[in-house]
Structures are given as structure tokens and as C-alpha cells.
Amino acid sequence: MLIPRLALRSLRSRVLTTSLTVASIALSVTLLVGIEHVRAGVRESFAGTIRGVDLIVGARGGTLQVLLSTVFGIGSPNGAVKLETFERWKAHPAVKWAVPFALGDSHRGYRVVGTTEEFYTRYRFRQDGTITFVQGRAAASDSDVVIGSEVAERLKYTIGSPVVVVHGLRDIGTSSHEAHPFHVVGILGRTFTPIDRSIFVTLEGIEAMHEGEESPAVAKTPAKTAEKVATPDTKTKPDVPAAMPGASPPPGTPIVMPGASPPPGTPMVMPGASPPPGTPMVMPGASPPPGTPMVMPGAEPPTVATPTATARRTPSSTAARQAAAPAPAAEPARSVMFPMLETDFPLTSFLIGTKNRFEALMVQREMNTDLVEPLTAVIPGVALGELWQNIGSAEVGLRVVAIFAVAIGLTGMLVALYSSLEARRREMAIFRAIGAGPRTIVSLLVLESGLLSLLGCVIGVALVYAMLILGQQPIEQRFGLHLAIRPLGSTEWMYIGVVLAAGILIGFVPALKAYRTSLVDGLSPRA
């Protein structure tokens, strides 16, 4: 009873030192816990970009490319995926739902996503966030546009605002689809994901936009044209890969695969090679039908092979025009699910939800080994994790800052505690003279430093939560970073534990010193 009372009285008697010490501890705890919260918030908001989707599927290529282009709108897709392929996989028994993505256009720097209405109901982000409409509804007709919250905010668009979509990601592009104006029909709520910076239209909208253009649009058109030629064969022989149109392609038709950097084994004609008329087809790595002339890639070195939109555009549209010329009469097949679209309408990717989570792996393998159209299926969580590994240096940075903060905070705290205790050697001498043993002195000082540390931790944590409550909205608005107000995680508890332990341990130093130093030390007024 005596010691707690003495400790409290002693702390109360030195209000200024006590509060300064507590403040220094509280600030370091705030720093530690705050940094950890921000770190976790950044990580969570990154990992929570896409949820509820089991597979992201794109043309054969790098998994990161599929993820980046589909989810984050960064870089260009690996290539095109035919609508037909999408429909085929959508009908797969293990697949519960599938949402197509057609990318490649933009509006004032914001990417345009051609998709279906199912997208708005299936996509999840963060814990279980669903897409909500602040205003309006989903895009249904080919002139409907739904805009993300940031798009609405920055461009000050409301329901009914006209939207003109251009090709590529920048406005410098020559082909702006002015002939087909869109109008905003819906504005999405904030998601803190790239959805906020996206514009959504229907697949039909994409098709309508590109229709009737004198120069066929990029990314999609080459594939489309090539496939148009191949269509009759795929229709009649569905088992044969579309890019390998059997024994009798129309003479003089080259097969052109879109995509600048296909993985090995992907059939392609090197852009810029401009095959002379009469060259049937190029199939590196595949066993061509006997007697088919073979052109090896690299025989005529490509002039342009970079995976940019322009690189894709120029050579492939040239090739496309050449391809289109000899076979203008080919009648395209119509999609069953999208009557307005042809079966070879070029998607860039699609999202899959499986009926059973475990089947996702199976479907992924099936897709990755699909012979009909080479695909790359990506499990979003895995790919996001991989990506985070690569770009997570920011996290490492925060960790380093946190470690420095621990060091600085602890040092400051210990100095404050130690000096306040050191100033009390006189007091300790009095206690010793009265006959207080080491246990009394140690427990008094350790209790005091422990109380200070505890108070500092409590105030520090309270400060973090106060700042989170006050700062959550502004931070969201300013940086698009959602910092969840959540209970303390294990790392935070560890920090607090370290601070408390250090605070208690430091109390032992002057206590033992006070005990060991002779009475003399405290006796004379000089001490």
C-alpha cells in the first residue's frame, strides 16, 4: 500500500516532468502505432483492390501484365481474347459467373472499360465492398456510360454529360470516336480502387464506337480481321485452334496475331515483316501441315517489337488491311449471348467466379493449357501478392522508418525516465537512511517508470485513434488511402510491449544504482 501511494504522490508532485515524460512516450507510441496503421492500410487497400473474383483471364502472357492491365489499368494487355472464347468458358460447368473486359480506349486520360451489367454486381473490393451507384444505373445500351467517383469529381460530370471516347490512353491519339457519343447514365460510389478512375460502357458500346471507322481501330481490329478470315474454319472444326486454320486457308491469307510480344509458341507474324502476298501462314513451334511453306520469325528482323499501343497499331493495321483486302466477303458469325456482337469481338480479359473455390485452381490449369486459344489465368490474390513483393519497397521503407522511430522514441523515453529518476538520488538516500531495502526502492522507481510508460502507451494509442477518426476522411479524399479503424494488430501490441518493457527495465537502473551508492552520496548537500 505504501509504495503505490508513494509512487502516485511522487508522480503528482512533479507534474511537469511527469507530463513531459508521458508526452515523449506517447508521441513515440503514436509514431510507432501510426506508422504500422498506415503500412497496414496501404497494404490492405492494395490487396483489397479486387475481391470476390477467382480468376482474371487474359491472352497468353505474363501474369502481372494480365493483372496490371485488367485491375489497375496499367500497361497494355497481352493481346486479345475472342468473345467466343469468353462464352465458351462462361459455359464451363465449374464457372459460376464471368464478366468480360474490353480495354484500350480512354476518355480524357481515364480508361474506358467495356463490360457487362454483371460487373457491377460481381466485383468486390476491400473486405466485402460492393459497387454502388451514387446516381443513375448501370450501362445498358450502347451509348450508356457509367463513371467512377474520381472521374465524376475531377471532370465535374453529372447524369447526361456527353462523353467522347478516344483510342489509346492519351488524347493525342488521332482516332477519337466522335461519331459515337456516349452519355453518362450512372455515377459510382467511391471504392478507393482503380474503379474510381475508370469509365464503364457496354461491349456493344465499344463495338458501336469502332464501327464505321475508315481506319479500323487498334488492338482489336487486327485480331478481328484475322479471325474473320479464320472463322469459317473454327465454325466447322471447333477443335482446331483458331490461329491454325486447318489445311485450307483461303489462299493468300496471312494469319496475323495481335499482341507485340507473345510468349514462345504463340503463332504470329512478325510485325514489319510484311509478308508478300501468297505467303500462307507462319507457325513457329507448331507442326505445320506437310508442304506448307514456313517462314521463321526472325528471318526478317522486326523493326518494331515493343509492346506499346503504337507499336501494335501501325504494323498490325497494315497487315490487317492487307488481310482484309482479299477476303472481304467473309460473313462474320454473331454471338449468342451478345446478338449485336460477332463471335470474334476482341475482349482483353475477363473475370471468373467459380462455383467452388477449389475449382478455381482446376479451371486455371485448364485455361493455361487450353489449346484452342492460349490464355493466361491469374488468381488475383496470388498475383497481387507477387506484385506487392515487387513494388513493396515502400513497405520496407515504412518498416525502416518504424524501426528508427522505435529507436528514437525509446531513447528519448529512456532519457526522460532516467533523468527524472536520477534527479531523485537524494530522495533515495533518505529512503535508505530510514531503512528502506532494495525491494522498496526498486519497486517504487520501477512502479513509477512503469506507470509513466503505461500512461504514455495509453495516451499514444488514444492519440492514434483520435487522429484516425479525425483524419480518416481527409486522408481518403486527399490520398485515396482508406485507413481502417481497427483494433491493434500483433505488431502494434509488440511495439507497445517493447515500450512497456523498456520503461520498466529502465526503472531498475537508477533503482539499483540508488541502492548501491552509499548513503554518503545523498548525505551531503553537494550531491
Binding site: 505504501l2 508513494l6 504522490r9 511522487s10 503528482r12 508532485s13 512533479r14 537524494r426 530522495e427 538516500a429 533518505i430 529512503f431 535508505r432 537512511a433 530510514i434 531503512g435 528502506a436 531495502g437 532494495p438 522498496t440 552509499s518 548513503l519 554518503v520 545523498g522 548525505l523 551531503s524 548537500p525
Partner: protein, 238 residues
Amino acid sequence: MTAMPAGTPAVELSQLRFAYRSGRDVLAIDHLLIDRGETVFLHGPSGSGKTTLLGLLAGVLQASSGAVKVLGSDFSTLSSGARDAFRARHLGYVFQMFNLIPYLPVRENILLPIRLDGHRRARLGTMSLDAAVADIAGQLDIGDLLDAPIGELSVGQQQRVAAARALIGAPEVIIADEPTSALDTDRREQFLQLLFASCRHAGATLIFVSHDHTLMPLFSRTVELGEINRAAVRSSRD
């Protein structure tokens, strides 16, 4: 240790040697005996080892060799924890100045030894703590200051509070290290009279260190440390 034969002397030193660093004795006293109830005036030049001797008598320091017996207990055979307990039980200590815990009021300061040690509490018998404090404070003429904060007391009043704390619970030996040096001359005698009276009342032995030779006649015995400490003689020759 708790049973104190009344016949044993208050302090008995024999062949005492003490060195802070080995090889350089600070104290070398062959023999010193202080009987119970004596009031001893201990003096000597600076560096003669007065404060060191008090540390040894209080059991804070441990003799390098020889025996320090206080109330018959040989400190060299006691652990440091046992010496702490012995001090709490049988000794009262008054410093030169800054005797009080600044954040405790007068009453709490006086009561500290009682709260720290049960035996000293037991010696009060049936007397309540308040009564005990009032009694000792009355003897030292600070009865009206019991609830005052330490900061409001004069130096003389503070020293009297310190004396009250040393005397409460009737310890057998009171050690005072120049307790009057911070007081002006008039107050010194007044303080000493109160201290003597209280010691007599409690039957305590008083060991009083001072430079002030004018106080010497008031004591029953005078010990010149420079004379009995052979180490001091040697070091003054160096």
C-alpha cells in the same frame, strides 16, 4: 537480533578498517565504545572520516575488516538486507539538510519509518499513529505544522521534522550528521535542547557530528575522530 540485552553498549568498534578502494584505508579505529543513553559529540577535521563512520554505524557501508557492533549486533555478520531492516528498526538518522521527502506532508514524512517497519510500529503499543505523531511533534514544537507541505517550512522547522521522524517509534540510536549547520546560532541551541529532551524521553543514544565546537559542552561525551582514526593521521602526513 530482535532481542537486545539491555547491558550491551550502543556502539562498539574494534580493529575497524574501512577502505573505499583496497589499499587506502579511510578509517582505522582500534577501539571505540559508546554506552547507551550517552550523547556523543563527534568531531574532527574534514577528511577525518566522520561521514564514513556514520555510514558504517548505519549499516550502509560494510567494514573491510574488524567489527562494527551496534546494540550488540555485528554488522559484518549481517546481509545488506538484514542491515537495512536493522536500520529501519533501531536507528534514526538526521542529515545535514534536505531530510524530507518533498511530496509528502509533514505528518507523512514523520510516519515513514513506522510505515516501513512493523516492529517500530509495534513499539508504539496501543498509541494510534496520529497520537504518536502528535506526541513527538509536540516535543519538538512542530505540532501545528503537521499538515503543512514541506516547501512552506523553514530550514529549522524541516530539521525538527527530520528529528521527529528519526525519533518516532523509539529507536535506540539516533545518528545526526551536522543537523544544525544550516541553522543560525540561536536556533542551534534551541534545536539541540529539543533533541536532547526527546532522546532522554525515548532513552536513545545520540551520536552527533558537528564542526561547531561551541555546542561541545552540551554533550555528555566528546570524541575527536582525528585522534582515534589512525588512517586519518597517516593520510594527513602524506
